[in-house]
Symmetry: C2
Subunit: 204 residues, 2 copies
């Protein structure tokens, strides 16, 4: 499970240092040799840990790859501030589109899904939330909160997720063509229809 | 590749009979034992063909499972006619949502993606169109064409794919919760904004 707490230790401790070393080794080996050549003993050797450390913490190679993929999907900071919520969303989505349409982005999504699928909930129940969705939602929320603080009319976060983020990912996974930046603009514009202006920039 | 022509023989021939037997055997064994127990020799024995027949035609088990999944995603007929394009889309999407939110639906998507991922286009190029997307698009097109023939205002097919089908699949794969039928209604309603009425029911 990519949402398993065992894979997200508190930063700073020995556990976090082990995780950082294993992630770094995995990323380096992925860049050097590609995924097909990767094995747990190879990663362990490069990270300076025993294979059993990896098996104990991650379960197997697929879980480790999923964890590394999710970490690579973790945003590096607050979204760029272009001065307006529309500009911020457009800039952020274009970058997201670029990442998800790249070979690396697609491979990361597949790694995440491979582990996600195995953690699937029983029939009829909602799937466990993927950390990558939480990251994306948090970025959109940050942009919308900033717009609201400026007193701008802002779209619903859920609407942006369903009608802009979802088609970027769906098309990247299933085709027939990547979403274009122009299409992102049009889909974002539709999210602003009916958007309400915040009354005042109240903190909290 | 799930879009490979080798997996879609003309119906009626020996090739089609072999495919039907192998698909039937795969579906029966999936129902009896689940995916983890499945092997090519087991399927071959039940289908009355040699394992090499399966390897020659499908490559490996993952490709065969993807092909079987795509066939199960193939719609069984024309979409139900409720009398209006809005009603037809709502009914069709609710059924699609049900299927994609089921354990079987999720497993099918993962099988399709596993093969799709391996057939990924070079960096920066669009992914190959998945046959499952073609099926879905064709069903939406059929509903929209029927509405146009009735002289109704109809939404753009691409908009329905991007803002209704995509979030159904995205949420089923990544969470955090399945789309609800009420949400489908709202997203469909948004597709009708700006929809233009067909001038006349002209054939072609």
């Amino acid at each position: 499970m990519t949402s398993s707490p065992k894979a997200t230790p508190r930063p700073g401790g020995r556990s976090a240092r082990v995780q950082a070393a294993v992630h770094r080794a995995t990323n380096e080996l992925l860049a050097l040799h590609g995924r097909a050549e990767l094995t747990v003993p190879l990663i362990a050797a490069r990270a300076g840990v025993t294979p059993s450390t990896i098996y104990r913490r991650w379960g197997d190679l697929a879980e480790l790859l999923a964890d590394v993929a999710v970490e690579r999907l973790r945003p590096e900071g607050v979204p760029a501030d272009t001065g307006s919520v529309a500009g911020d969303l457009q800039a952020w989505m274009e970058q997201y589109l670029d990442e998800m349409s790249s070979e690396v982005g697609l491979a990361m999504m597949m790694d995440v899904l491979a582990a996600q699928g195995r953690a699937a909930a029983p029939a009829g129940q909602a799937p466990p939330a993927c950390r990558c969705v939480e990251f994306t939602t948090a970025q959109v929320e940050a942009i919308v909160a900033r717009g609201r603080a400026r007193g701008e009319a802002v779209p619903e976060v859920e609407l942006v997720m369903d009608t802009v983020v979802a088609p970027i990912v769906y098309r990247a996974l299933f085709g027939p063509a990547f979403l274009t930046p122009e299409r992102v603009t049009a889909l974002l514009a539709a999210c602003f229809k009916g958007a309400r202006k915040a009354k005042a920039a109240t903190p909290g």
